[in-house]
Symmetry: C2
């Protein structure tokens, strides 16, 4: 068993040469006014772990990073964005260059309808009207060239498996990484993660492990899917 | 002139021995649900620059840090908080230990009335009702022991001087540091800052300078005020 694992790790070396992997990371922010915004707890650690693992395995990596608590790896092409709309524009522009797309960023589902041009003054109450942002994962799945592998994430606090399966089909992705973000020591802001990889024909539980180890599991899956497309 | 400046810098050395300075830093976050929050663009750099300058000048420093893009100095006592309410509780509890209080954090003015216990699902629109948080600076100014110096910040995008003067009086602070956060390369997230120090009897423009230099100017002022109280 140990020999198998060593062999698997050795085999991973440079097994993604020739792939161009577009990875999104971090959390987008939607302005309320010039000072305040609606954000989310994504640290960018999962996306950066994916980028580092893919680089180590020989892939070309393009990282589209929103707000992140960790730096982008210096070895990859890196684009910084703030809002969901900026991320959408960057990802759709780069889509044709990618053979694999992994959407690890936590993208705002909502944006403020009319952000204030000046800092809002404190008053008795404030109503914010939010509207949905466009679904980037679904657009990627629709607009991709034949053969491009699309991986999405589902960060959930309940009904993990059902939500993951629903998103796989609703968005047309090849793989959904469903992870439970309600646990204090896993997922957002943590160095470890756990979850379920959900594809159309298989589900694989990833037990609590480092984000780097989870990244390699996701890349193993994407590599198999990429190999299958060429047969 | 150069000799004067060198002398001033030398004189600063250890001129805050005996002072305990309570400093707040970073931006508080108010939850919308377990994943999303309302935040602000404060990086914590100004508060950390104040803490480092105060430590170098011999003060004891207690740092109450919200969300920060930079680490707290290892030499100070450091408390981490998330929301405005947590910051209020931490600061009021520590107030009696401090001879100088500097509120450099950007504290949420509003919080969501009823944060959702589970992650909100995407739907056609979302209304968020916000209510004001309690004013921490005003409470500190009211509850402080005689002789404690209180410094607040006013981050503004317009009418800098008028807002700074208004806050000085409305909140009962001894000094307001008013800074313009509408400029791209100054204030929030930047390593430089500029603004006006506003006290009851003087106003001093601080031209564009490093946050460390601005920190030392603020501490110079606080030291003079602290010295005046003992005469």
């Amino acid at each position: 068993v140990i020999a198998d694992r060593v062999f698997a790790v050795i085999k991973r070396t440079q097994d993604l040469v020739g792939e161009t992997i577009l990875i999104t990371a971090g959390g987008t922010r939607e302005p309320i006014d010039p000072v305040r915004f609606i954000g989310n707890r994504s640290s960018g650690k999962m996306g950066v772990a994916l980028a580092e693992a893919a680089l180590d395995r020989g892939a070309k990596v393009i990282l589209v990073g929103a707000s992140m608590a960790v730096p982008a790896p210096p070895r990859c092409e890196s684009i910084r964005v703030t809002t969901a709309q900026e991320m959408e524009a960057a990802v759709l522009k780069l889509l044709s260059e990618a053979s694999i797309v992994i959407m690890a960023a936590a993208v705002s589902d909502y944006r403020v309808v009319s952000p204030a041009p000046e800092k809002l003054k404190k008053k008795a109450s404030l109503e914010l009207t939010l509207e949905p942002t466009r679904d980037i994962l679904r657009q990627i799945a629709e607009q991709r060239q034949e053969g491009t592998i699309v991986v999405g994430f589902a960060a959930e606090t309940e009904n993990l498996l059902e939500e993951g399966r629903r998103k796989l089909h609703a968005k047309g992705a090849d793989l959904i990484v469903a992870n439970d973000v309600s646990q204090a020591n896993s997922g957002f802001e943590s160095d470890v993660n756990e979850g379920v990889l959900i594809s159309r024909d298989a589900e694989e539980v990833v037990p609590r492990s480092s984000k780097r180890e989870m990244a390699d599991r996701i890349l193993d899956w994407a590599r198999s899917a990429a190999r299958a497309r060429t047969i």
